[in-house]
Symmetry: C2
């Protein structure tokens, strides 16, 4: 699966993904009003607003980008109705030729991780039939439970040609609280990185592994070390833009071949119309604002590659 993602990155010349993390506050009023008029102030109404918002953004950006990264929490907050729209978004993006990275951060003991892996990446056996639940190309995985919690995801990657990104060093301010603590003189995230290499070796796909790593853009010195530790594991890089990461900070996430990382931006793209820089588009043309923000982000990143 990673080779398919790389191919799309090379074709679009855009090592980025758009984070479809639609907080209600990001959605223009005319969309919310219309959805509430149809469904009232209900979870269904909220979910409908999210769907209309997503569709407009995907329609205005899909030809420029290789992938999207919906954050499932933003859908789960609206319960079942939200998850129906998560699935609808996944399917729509697939139709548009996009790779979908489900940002689900799942992880549990072995048999439970196997269920998550089946539901999000693979298939579940019902009677004699293999059925897909959410069927995304990639998901993110939390490593706190160790190898037997991650292995079922890796197995599905190999068996069904899918991929995962394991949390190594996250972009948030308190990520260091546990991740940076020294073990035998080295931070925990380096130990996790070494395991990612080990897990990754079990699911190679041409030059890179289907097992990648989440490495935040907000800690460039750490990216430099992690890039060397995990030369064949792709990085999913959150934290660019709204969270404070700059294009310069990203340089170290890439290998010399210009590959090795895909940078996410959520708010910076999907709520672009709210920024002074793109306010000329107005809320009515928020999709066009997002398109311009994608073009600008790609140029910004390619500048340092």
């Amino acid at each position: 699966m990673i080779s398919q993602l790389i191919e799309k990155i090379q074709k679009t010349k855009a090592p980025i993904c758009v984070g479809l993390d639609p907080m209600l506050g990001y959605i223009p009023e005319h969309i919310v009003k219309e959805a509430m008029a149809q469904h009232g102030e209900t979870l269904k109404g909220a979910a409908e607003a999210v769907w209309q918002f997503n569709k407009e953004i995907v329609d205005h950006t899909y030809d420029l980008i290789p992938a999207v990264k919906p954050q499932i929490a933003m859908y789960e907050q609206f319960g079942i109705e939200g998850l129906i729209v998560y699935k609808r978004t996944v399917d729509y993006c697939r139709e548009k030729g996009l790779v979908v990275i489900g940002d689900v951060k799942r992880g549990d003991i072995g048999s439970t991780s196997a269920a998550y892996a089946a539901g999000h990446l693979g298939h579940v056996k019902v009677g004699g039939t293999m059925l897909a639940g959410f069927d995304t190309e990639f998901i993110t995985v939390n490593p706190y439970l160790g190898t037997d919690g991650v292995k079922p995801f890796v197995d599905v990657c190999s068996k069904e040609d899918k991929g995962i990104f394991v949390l190594v060093k996250t972009s948030n301010p308190s990520s260091g609280e546990f991740q940076d603590r020294l073990i035998d003189g080295r931070p925990l995230y380096e130990l996790v990185a070494e395991k990612v290499v080990e897990w990754g070796n079990q699911s190679m796909d041409k030059d890179y592994s289907n097992v990648g790593a989440v490495v935040g853009a907000t800690y460039p010195e750490m990216s430099k070390i992690l890039r060397k530790l995990m030369p064949r594991n792709y990085f999913l890089v959150p934290g660019y833009g709204a969270q404070g990461g700059t294009a310069e900070d990203l340089r170290y996430c890439f290998n010399e071949d210009g590959l090795g990382a895909i940078v996410n931006s959520s708010r910076g793209i999907i709520a672009a119309y709210k920024q002074d820089k793109y306010s000329r588009f107005g809320a009515d043309h928020f999709g066009e604002a997002s398109r311009q923000a994608v073009i600008d982000m790609v140029a910004d990143i390619n500048r340092v590659l």
Copy 2:
């Protein structure tokens, strides 16, 4: 919320919860057949079988126990249809007077954790209306992202009288891979435990905190230390029975007041009819087998308290 759970534990004299983790392989054939006859070999068919299975188990055990712990992965594997049955199960258990601990192991950066907390424990604001998504009493939370990833859950605990159990030391074989690594001479799980105390102090409810800890039954020596480190944080204890933890192993999870822990059993209860010990009930009376297994588990644990 923890005081409500304690009250129910004292009333039932059963410091246990039943893990509603319905793998299809656990469900008696007559239920699966009936569901498939109605809906075919579809996700809806699988979900219907899960629902019928859950209902029978809850109907046969609800008067003996304080709480259930549905593992959301077992529902998520069937996509939207599975999650509809997760919600249905939550609502049904609530009607039966049970506390519901959603075993979701969520955790992300701050704004994302806030969305999970709203969806699973609290309410989300849609227009001027506050709406609940899954609305469980407790959920489990993964601490790998540190304080700013956990704080939004704690805030909802205080605001909406709910609770969480943070993963400290999990029951699986490879849990030690990261959790046991020494930092300044002490294992990572002890550092997490100290943070649990800190987070917990922000949401006290009488003698205990709404912020508890997941501590596996499979590592009794560690439970002993963790019990002392977190005297006012309730333990949710997986690993009893099928995973190898015995009643003797559990002793250290409890405080001297006989409180402080709630022990989960999943397979050992819900698939009891498959054990030699309960085979006399047969698949047709699997609910009664589960009831007997609950009675036996409660006696086994009370023996060591």
